[in-house]
């Protein structure tokens, strides 16, 4: 990159994204989806699914969270940088969980 155009806002930068306005209608869809998700998760909890109960609960919660992040929080319309940032947070949390759990799960005498 040897051309030095004056580009203070980093417009040509992959880190940049235009400001997008999400419409109220779209918000309403999300809102309804979230309410439905809430009902679903309560219903799912009342059905005997064995070990799938917590998995289903988490799957629903994750879906809801992703919807909120993408639309209420506009990440869907944001630059790659923001998307990467959000992902890195969850990844680091996963590092904490997996590595620490690997200790607990492999303790020979374990309570697991």
């Amino acid at each position: 990159m040897s051309e030095h155009i004056h580009d203070p806002a980093n417009i040509t930068n992959p880190e940049h994204a235009d400001h997008h306005i999400v419409s109220p209608l779209q918000y309403t869809y999300v809102f309804v989806a979230l309410l439905v998700g809430t009902i679903l998760t309560v219903v799912a909890a009342k059905i005997e699914l064995g070990i799938f109960n917590p998995i289903v609960a988490l799957a629903i919660a994750c879906t809801k969270a992703v919807i909120v992040i993408l639309f209420f929080m506009h990440v869907y319309y944001q630059s790659k940088l923001i998307k990467l940032t959000v992902a890195s947070g969850f990844l680091t949390f996963l590092v904490l969980v997996t590595l620490a759990l690997s200790d607990y799960m492999s303790r020979a005498w374990g309570l697991w």
Binding site: M1, I5, L99, A100, S102, D103, M105, S106, A108
Partner: protein
């Protein structure tokens, strides 16, 4: 204009030289203008003053520790006093001194300038971060004044939650608050580096100091909150006995260890990375040469930042984690050691075919290279599972981390302070006195901490107030060294203060360095640049600099 053959220092003619009338120091007057400032340079100075203050408190505790350890008996202080001494020494040195040392002072000062920005992205947050630091520091001091804490800087449960009646809560809250100060500094850096670079300042034109601070900032942002929540749980456990870490209620004390070290291992890299950045700048400048393998050095910082999150359990090898996960963590520890080695070799090769001069910052940098290599390699001893069994919790560890933290980071910090002192204040420090100080520190340091490796292998446990008589000789050596070291640290304090008034006027670029910060006046203007600079050269491009200087000479003529 041209300096003597063995130095690059290039000062303006002292008879006519003056400090620019208009600069960030003279921009506004009065204490309030400092306490309410949004200027990153002023905040850096506030930080510099406050961390120096805490360093000397922590250092005084170190002095007392060493005095107590002069004799095998417990004679100078009572054992709980001793425990409070090393706890406060550890807490102050780590959280109040070393973590903010380079980033919050030097980083705060030069990062925006280096990338051609007028300030950090969030000046108010920057100021807030200093206030948080001060409040956290006050909490820690309060814990100290009220009677101290004796948990060790690691706050180990269940000792800290159920078996001590010292001011754990106060100190814990203090560290919690300081943690947020460090989070905000890191956050500010990341945003600034992403968003505020001047036109033409691409990622690979940035000085390596910016890269390493960027890497450290990532760790601050992602690691520190885990420490925060852990401390909250400790405080809750102490105050309302919630029992998350309490084995008698079914909690797992090792969970505390996991969470604590999830932060505190990355924290050691938070402490070293900015220092490594300083070394890159200095070695390049005093070799007149671009850093060898620029991108390798840049990426190794990022690699350390990422892999640094994968090795925390090497602090728990004998603590009862499973053997298999000990294996995994040991392996990962070996991997994370490699990027540091890469850096060391790249710095060495930077001098090859260079034109090396030996100004004070460079002397400190040499100290860093040697001491960090020793410190880092002894880290590898500790990372090797079977070896760690014998070495853990002995003076070998104490020596290891002082080598990396004091021999590494503190040396780098001093190197950086000397290097940027002319930029920050507009004046030079006295060169020969400062060389003396650097050499004194180096000798004192080795005398203090080399014997501790031997002590550790002989088996002397750390955090011991009294010890078997056969360890005395080495301890006496260590205490003697600490005295020399203490002098070595007092000296810069004195002559730097002196130089504020009497030092030679430095001019814009005494080192003839290439960084953007050297192209503006010293001390800089509040806005740093008169107009946004446009960058069309790589970092460490000495040919560009030579060209530029020539042009100026012709135009000014």
């Amino acid at each position: 204009m041209s300096a003597t053959s063995s130095t690059i220092v290039n000062l303006p003619d002292q008879k006519t030289a003056t400090i620019p009338k208009k600069n960030y120091i003279t921009a506004e007057d009065g204490l309030l203008s400092w306490l309410l400032t949004g200027d990153h340079k002023r905040i850096a100075m506030l930080y510099l003053i406050s961390i120096t203050f805490f360093f000397f408190i922590g250092g005084a505790f170190a002095g007392l520790i060493r005095l107590e350890l002069l004799t095998p008996q417990a004679d100078l202080v009572a054992s709980d006093t001793y425990n409070k001494l090393f706890t406060m020494h550890g807490i102050i040195m780590v959280f109040l001194f070393l973590v903010p040392s380079v980033p919050a002072t030097i980083g705060n000062f030069v990062i925006p300038i280096m990338i051609g920005a007028k300030d950090l992205a969030f000046p108010k947050v920057n100021l807030l971060s200093w206030y948080l630091y001060m409040v956290g520091g006050l909490f820690t001091l309060a814990a100290l004044v009220l009677g101290g804490v004796d948990t060790g800087w690691t706050f180990t449960t269940p000792l800290s939650t159920h078996y001590l009646n010292t001011h754990v809560v106060t100190a814990g809250l203090g560290v919690f608050i300081i943690g947020f100060s460090s989070i905000f500094t890191g956050l500010n850096f990341i945003v600034t580096i992403h968003r505020m670079r001047a036109p033409g300042m691409t990622w690979f034109r940035m000085p390596l100091f910016v890269w390493s601070n960027y890497a450290a900032s990532i760790m601050m942002v992602l690691g520190t909150p885990v420490l925060a929540i852990t401390l909250v749980l400790v405080v809750l456990e102490r105050t309302i006995h919630i029992g998350v870490f309490d084995p008698t209620l079914g909690g797992d004390p090792l969970l505390f260890q996991h969470l604590f070290w999830f932060y505190s291992h990355p924290a050691v890299y938070i402490m070293i990375l900015p220092g490594m950045g300083v070394i890159s700048e200095i070695i390049s400048t005093f070799s007149r040469k671009r850093v060898f393998g620029y991108s390798a050095v840049a990426f190794s910082s990022v690699a350390i930042a990422i892999f640094g999150f994968f090795v925390w359990a090497h602090h728990m090898f004998i603590m009862g984690i499973s053997n298999y996960s000990a294996l995994v963590f040991s392996l990962l520890t070996m991997l994370v050691a490699v990027p540091s080695a890469i850096k060391i070799f790249n710095w060495s090769f930077t001098m090859q075919k260079g034109s090396v001069t030996f100004e004070t910052p460079m002397i400190y940098a040499f100290g860093f290279l040697g001491l960090f290599t020793i410190g880092g390699m002894t880290g590898v001893f500790l990372g090797a599972l079977g070896m760690d069994i014998h070495l853990t919790e002995t003076y070998f560890i104490v020596a290891h981390f002082h080598f990396v933290m004091v021999g590494g980071m503190l040396m780098a910090f001093l190197a950086g302070v000397h290097f940027w002192w002319p930029k920050m204040t507009g004046r030079m420090y006295p060169e020969s006195l400062s060389k003396l100080a650097a050499v004194t520190t180096f000798i004192g340091f080795n005398l203090t901490f080399l014997p501790q490796f031997i002590l550790g292998y002989l088996g002397m446990p750390r955090r011991y107030h009294s010890y078997p008589a056969e360890f005395q000789v080495l301890n006496v050596l260590s205490t003697a060294g600490a005295t020399v070291l203490g002098i070595g640290y007092m000296l810069p304090m004195i002559y730097l203060a002196w130089s504020l008034k009497y030092g030679a006027v430095a001019g814009n670029n005494p080192w003839q360095a290439t960084g953007l910060e050297w192209q503006i006046q010293s001390p800089p203007l509040t806005e740093n640049f008169i107009e946004t600079p446009v960058i069309d050269y790589e970092a460490y491009d000495y040919e560009w600099l030579a060209h530029k200087t020539e042009q100026e000479v012709t135009t000014v003529g």
